[in-house]
């Protein structure tokens, strides 16, 4: 069974994002970028499926500007077998929305016929939490979102989902889309020899037009501003003072 893993290049999670003064977006110039953490978890899970003999091949795919190739090389160094880069323009405002990403992924799924598409539950930049569900809809396949456990058995997969009320387990007919939550696994680091090896793994270069997908945005981002800043308050010196404060707030 083939596993398709879409990966996105995003601002590193340790970086504090800064809004541009002109309100046009977040300043990403000279900012450290990394693979979306949830996508690292997806790559790791795909590798584990391969190590268990469930998956036969792992194909990583990224839709984004030229630098998205770095993210694909990271996936290859972790253990993906080959990569597809769907290149989009560099300029600001040409970011591809989840719906268009899902359409491209659907076209790739039709071509590659994966048994599972494993992807992140949300990208930590735009925090949309949509792409996996949209792909599942367009592909006419089931979805196991926010997964903390994935078990393939025959022609179905059991997915344990982190939901508001606890942990829900569902059974999905394959092929299926699974989106990862934080506790699915702890991703490995790529070793130096594997980073070297990844350089010669195949990486196909494509464009959205190759898949007949129009990436024109449907949402217009008209303004991006800083949220109101919270001011630091006071420090109290003792538990008694804290108790008094809580009483004054009417909660104690």
């Amino acid at each position: 069974m083939k596993v398709l893993v879409p990966v996105k290049r995003v601002i590193d999670y340790n970086v504090r994002p800064r809004v541009k003064a002109d309100g046009s977006g977040v300043d990403l110039a000279n900012v450290k970028m990394s693979m979306n953490p949830f996508d690292e978890i997806a790559v790791e899970e795909a590798i584990r499926l391969k190590e268990k003999g469930v998956a036969s091949e792992i194909v990583a795919v990224s839709i984004g500007p030229a630098k998205a190739q770095e993210t694909l090389r990271t996936a290859l160094a972790m253990g993906a077998d080959r990569a597809i880069h769907v290149q989009t323009p560099e300029d600001v405002g040409s970011e591809v929305e989840p719906l268009a990403v899902a359409k491209i992924l659907k076209a790739i799924a039709d071509e590659e016929q994966p048994g599972i598409v494993l992807m992140g539950k949300q990208a930590i930049d735009d925090d949309s939490n949509q792409t996996g569900q949209m792909l599942a809809a367009l592909w006419g396949r089931p979805q196991g979102t926010f997964a903390s456990k994935v078990e393939v058995a025959g022609d179905s997969v059991q997915v344990t989902r982190e939901v508001d009320g606890g942990l829900e387990t569902v059974s999905l007919k394959l092929p299926a889309v699974v989106t990862t939550d934080l506790r699915l696994n702890e991703p490995r680091y790529a070793s130096l020899p594997n980073i070297m090896k990844a350089k010669s793994k195949p990486l196909a270069a494509k464009t959205p037009a190759d898949y007949g997908v129009d990436t024109a945005p449907r949402l217009k981002v008209t303004r991006v501003v800083e949220p109101p800043v919270r001011q630091a308050g006071i420090k109290v010196g003792s538990v008694d003072e804290l108790v008094a404060k809580l009483k004054a707030l009417g909660v104690a």
Binding site: Y13, P17, V26, L99, A102, Q122, I124, D125, D127, N129, Q130, Q133, M134, A136, A137, L138, P142, Q143, F146, S148, R161, E162, V163, D164, G165, G166, L167, E168, T169, V170, S171, L172, L182, R183, P217, R218, L219, K220, V221, R223, V224, V225, E226, P227, R230, A232, G233, I234, K235, V236, S238, V239, D240, L242, V243, K245, L246, L249, V251, A252
Partner: protein
């Protein structure tokens, strides 16, 4: 504009997240509700009483018992012929169903809105809440998820909407429910609690968390939350996690104990009215957002605090 709101429920009770979503929908136009479930007429009755609701659709079918997105999305799509906007609470159920609806309608969803600025214009937090984007949809229909903490709850009494039975395509045959492991608790729900006591990695282990955090929460009638580090380490279950990728909360008082204040954690609680932080490191980032801070060792402070309340 006619809006359709997905009701959040467990086949018995209507959940509060619905009420904030109704408020957001009412800013756009007429509000209709969809209750999809099994044996859930009581929920539809409760939904019909919500102030400002024009109509309640009830889809009562075994296929909708667990609100599997594969089954619910086509049902919603059918109803969208006669509606202009679909809104769901940004809960795990809403986040699971809404994008599936959006894709079937060929619409780009607007996720997690925090305000309605106009008929097609909304604001939403991005980058873990470090930026607020104003977005305008150019799609024919709107699909939206709503952040519950930023809209007032619609009154749960006062309405008298009619209930209309509807049916959809039923079971897709693609997915099935296996089980739900949920902890029964008398405690208030995290997302609607007035007071939250949250513990972090510093709590050491599950037993210590239970010994220190729980009695304090009991004294305050508070819900219990946690940082990702505390959940990852197994101190508490996953549904306690507050943050960018956990639950978004905005209680009147949020007490962070042994939590450093990483941006991912702040994203989930910085709209709390009053933030109290207890941390032994006076430079911990949590103090930059805390209204009331106490620097010191939680292992001394928390028992003393609990005993003095």
């Amino acid at each position: 504009m006619k809006t359709l709101v997905l009701v959040e429920h467990d086949n018995v009770h209507l959940k509060d997240a619905t009420l904030a979503t109704v408020t957001a929908a009412a800013k756009l136009g007429e509000v209709h509700l969809l209750v999809a479930g099994k044996g859930c007429r009581a929920v539809a009755d409760a939904a019909a009483k919500i102030a400002g609701v024009g109509k309640v659709y009830l889809a009562d079918d075994a296929a909708y018992e667990h609100q599997m997105a594969e089954n619910v999305a086509p049902l919603v799509v059918g109803l969208m012929d006669s509606h202009d906007a679909f809104l769901a609470p940004a809960t795990t159920t809403g986040k699971n169903v809404a994008p599936r609806v959006a894709a079937l309608l060929d619409v780009m969803q607007v996720s997690d809105i925090v305000s309605v600025e106009g008929e097609r214009t909304f604001t939403r937090p991005i980058y873990a809440g470090n930026a607020i984007a104003t977005v305008e949809s150019t799609d024919a229909k709107l699909v939206i998820t709503v952040r519950g903490t930023t809209f007032d709850k619609a009154a749960s009494e006062g309405g008298s909407a009619s209930i209309e039975d509807v049916s959809g395509p039923g079971d897709s045959g693609l997915s099935s429910f296996v089980s739900l492991a949920a902890e029964e608790s008398e405690r208030p729900e995290l997302t609607s609690a007035k007071v939250i006591v949250s513990g972090g990695r510093a709590l050491k282990d599950a037993a210590t968390f239970e010994q220190l955090i729980v009695p304090l929460a009991d004294k305050l009638g508070a819900a219990v939350g946690a940082s990702r580090a505390a959940v990852d380490a197994g101190y508490v279950p996953n549904d306690y996690q507050v943050g960018q990728t956990g639950k978004i909360v905005a209680p009147q008082v949020y007490i962070a104990i042994g939590i450093s204040g990483a941006i991912q954690h702040l994203a989930g609680m910085k709209d709390s009215k009053v933030i109290v932080a207890i941390n032994k490191d006076e430079d911990a980032p949590i103090f930059q957002v805390a209204d009331i801070g106490l620097v010191g060792d939680l292992f001394q402070i928390v028992p003393e605090l609990t005993s003095k309340l």
